[in-house]
Symmetry: C2
Subunit: 504 residues, 2 copies
């Protein structure tokens, strides 16, 4: 398969055959993913295996046909790249929704796509366990066949794989929202060298991802409260910073400090640049610990734990150990945009709850599976602001913005600032649309930031003990779009809607 061209000059028209051909290949491969839950069905003796096999058949047939018809002969250029990335998440969500519809687990088309997009974007918002606006009662998480629990977790895990490659290998080539920098920051190969090696890079990074998932699986499995099935699912959902659980009460259901701490540590790891992990695996400890973004990420989490845990200890009278356990879990869960819960943060004291609310606007490191605005962007925003203040005092000085030794170009500064503003715009617009359905301000804000930040649970009517079933259909589609826009770093999706993109 031809990969993104290293020459970013756009030519006149878009080769739709290239786009459709590559999409066909992805849909075809989705067929294999769809077969695995059928195995779970056979293991547990459930008769829903047919819905996965039929869906896989559709994926093989449809994807194979597309690939065969449009087999790409030309190389992929920058515009086709944008279309492919956006349409991949969209079309795989449609294909991945099929088993939900065919089996009748989620008969509503909207709900099935919502759940699958929430999986593939590693968001983890669910419509299970609630009543829809049309009065249909969706089954509870514990009541659906295990194969569907596995399918949700697998969607997370595959989505996480996609995001690692996207953010470290593809988006930097497309010049998205400061992603050029993430690449420069990360120790991976540079843009022009990477082109013929996207697949090779992908394999190395996936190796790290698979290894972490396997280690977490083992660590969870050894605990008596978790069987192998629950351990796999939670390992998938952790490493993808997804947040779907096999329990309605999320990780709280296992009620184990050991499990909480294991998941806390692996959520933290999932929020770190995977290129850095790769370097550490190779033995380059110095580069790992010297990384500025990792330090900043750790600092934010440290401050979050200090504030939240001490508020739980002092105000809510938790023991010190419990305050640390619940505080650390929830802070890491939100900063990394995982969205697992062990405690209903809406019932906390106002300080802890508010600080957590602020953390909804942070996000993991670039090149991790974490969503949100991301640490490197916050660092650039902060440095830029400090520079601006100095500039007023010294109007004629030339003051560069630096992260460590690296000077951040004017171009990247501007791109990051624009990203932030677009993020806030889209978040506010999303929240406004949710408010149209009668939700209060906090619930509307919470639903929107939980979707665009790929976090999962929000606030108010969409808090950690609630679900998104009751939201009217239009509202669900708005959140589906927000999840996708957030996961694909805003610009990737947005430029497709710009007239300039389509102009010859």
């Amino acid at each position: 398969m031809a990969l993104v061209s290293s020459n970013p000059t756009p030519r006149a028209n878009i080769h739709f055959t290239v786009v459709l051909g590559v999409l066909g290949a992805f849909i075809f491969f989705m067929g294999f993913a769809l077969l695995t839950p059928a195995i779970i069905d056979l293991v547990y003796g459930s008769d829903t295996w047919h819905s996965f096999v039929i869906s896989a058949g559709i994926a093989f047939g449809f994807g194979g046909l597309m690939w065969y018809m449009f087999k790409p002969q030309q190389e992929i250029r920058i515009r086709e790249g944008f279309l492919i990335v956006s349409l991949t998440w969209l079309s795989l969500s449609l294909v991945g929704a099929l088993p939900f519809i065919i089996s009748g687990v989620l008969p509503s088309f909207t709900d099935a796509v919502f759940e699958t997009m929430s999986g593939l974007t590693t968001t983890g918002s669910t419509v299970l366990g609630g009543t829809t606006s049309t009065g249909w009662e969706n089954p509870k998480i514990e009541d659906i066949p295990k194969s569907f629990l596995f399918w949700r977790s697998l969607a997370h895990w595959l989505g996480g794989m996609g995001i690692i490659v996207l953010s470290l290998a593809i988006l930097p080539l497309l010049g998205i929202g400061g992603m050029q920098l993430f690449q420069a920051e990360s120790p991976g190969p540079t843009a022009d060298k990477l082109t013929p090696r996207v697949q090779e890079t992908a394999k190395l990074l996936w190796g790290v991802y698979v290894a972490f998932t396997f280690i977490e699986f083992l660590l969870l499995w050894v605990h008596p409260s978790m069987d192998w099935f629950e351990a796999i699912n939670h390992a998938f959902a952790t490493m993808a910073t997804g947040g779907f659980s096999t329990k309605n009460a999320s990780v709280e259901a296992f009620d184990s400090a050991y499990i909480d701490w294991v998941i806390t540590v692996f959520m933290f790891l999932a929020g770190v640049n995977f290129a850095l992990h790769f370097r550490l695996f190779r033995g380059d400890r110095r580069l790992f610990f010297a990384n500025r973004e990792l330090r900043f990420y750790s600092l934010v989490i440290f401050i979050g734990i200090v504030v939240v845990s001490s508020s739980l200890w002092i105000i809510n009278n938790y023991s010190i150990l419990d305050a640390l356990r619940y505080g650390a879990f929830q802070v890491v869960s939100i900063v990394t945009s995982t969205g697992f819960g062990t405690n209903d943060y809406e019932l906390w004291n106002s300080i802890g709850a508010f600080f957590l609310f602020l953390l909804f606007f942070t996000g993991g490191c670039a090149g991790s599976t974490g969503g949100g605005i991301k640490m490197i962007r916050w660092m650039i925003l902060i440095r830029n602001t400090v520079r601006e203040i100095k500039q007023i005092v010294h109007p004629k000085a030339i003051l560069p913005v630096r992260i460590g030794d690296q000077a951040i170009s004017q171009n990247i500064q501007r791109t990051v600032l624009s990203f932030f503003i677009l993020y806030i715009f889209i978040f506010a617009t999303g929240a406004f649309i949710i408010s149209l359905f009668g939700y209060d301000i906090l619930s509307s804000i919470g639903a929107s930031i939980a979707a665009i930040g790929n976090i999962g649970p929000g606030w108010g009517d969409f808090g950690p003990t609630d679900n998104f079933a009751g939201l009217p259909i239009l509202g669900k589609w708005v959140l589906i779009l927000l999840m996708m826009v957030g996961r694909l770093e805003i610009f990737t999706v947005l430029i497709i809607f710009s007239p300039a993109f389509w102009r010859q």
Copy 2:
């Protein structure tokens, strides 16, 4: 008095004598302002006149002494300019708080300063009518002597005068947050020509301000529900976009569609660049209506009225006329940051309430008395974002950002972006500190944005029918600081806290 130097190169050290001398002059003139409420006392036969006369005496004595001791011999340079601007609002708030303390109307030092700073920054948040955290019951607005009602309104009106001159004549020279642009946009004299003419410019703009205030006073006075005293106070509070009323129920107390519409129109006018008004007065209609910021401001208000009024009409079953009246009043009141109320917006439907919540983040035009982020900055933020999307499609093109015919320099773009980010930072920090006192998320957010945006009323515990009396002392000081920081365009105050400012 020597004015801001046109040479913005900072020299080594700060001449504190210059700063103290100018401050002394301002404090001295505050003495005259303090004498006017004493006249109201004499008219209405209240014995609180002595507290104003004593305060005026202190202002004359203290200010006069400072002026005499430090009579500035040198010209004012950029750093002294920052100190003078920030310290003027602070010291006049301290002096203006004296009558409240001396009379015992607000015996708490914090409350007296809060009320005065809220007045001088045209914020309009009040501590009257509530019980403080120490259990003291502050009097209701209707129960304090009329002289104090007048003093609150007069503080607004003088604060508004200060802001017009500051934003159109002084801040552009200091290079604050894109203020260079406002000046370029406004038809006033350019930076280098202005220096010797600040006083002349001030007089012309104040003429417009006084004229509008007088016309509004007359239009309100002719209505039977308002006597001359109420008409003056509301005209002062409207033109300053202040929002203090003589009634606890704000403008709702007069229950008149005529009064509502008069105030709506004058709030709208108060949110327009006064340099534009000046041009219109001189007969230059074309320049007035061609102004891009004015058009954008009108568009935002129009959309706001359409959304809010139709939600009131359809969902809350208001008549069309009532929906327009209450919707238009509240939208204009919030966009211009006046904060008057005729309806408790927290009881509205979720759509109307949420849209109003979004409008808390807009603000008036530059060079108006309105607070907030301001329209010109939003325009630059939006244009910049659109440009950024085009840039990704055409990576090698050079795409300028334009407002009308004017190209916005990279420098101003960056400054405006930094302003926005700092605004959001400080707002979020303020909200977090308020949450420390046990307030919920919406109340904390509302208090912070109402203070930094100089709006007045917020949400939840600080909604339009509540007050700020119950907030603990530290919280009140945080809001005092936020009002000042917001009113002085963030950077003016913030750079004083930067090490670079004090370094030789």
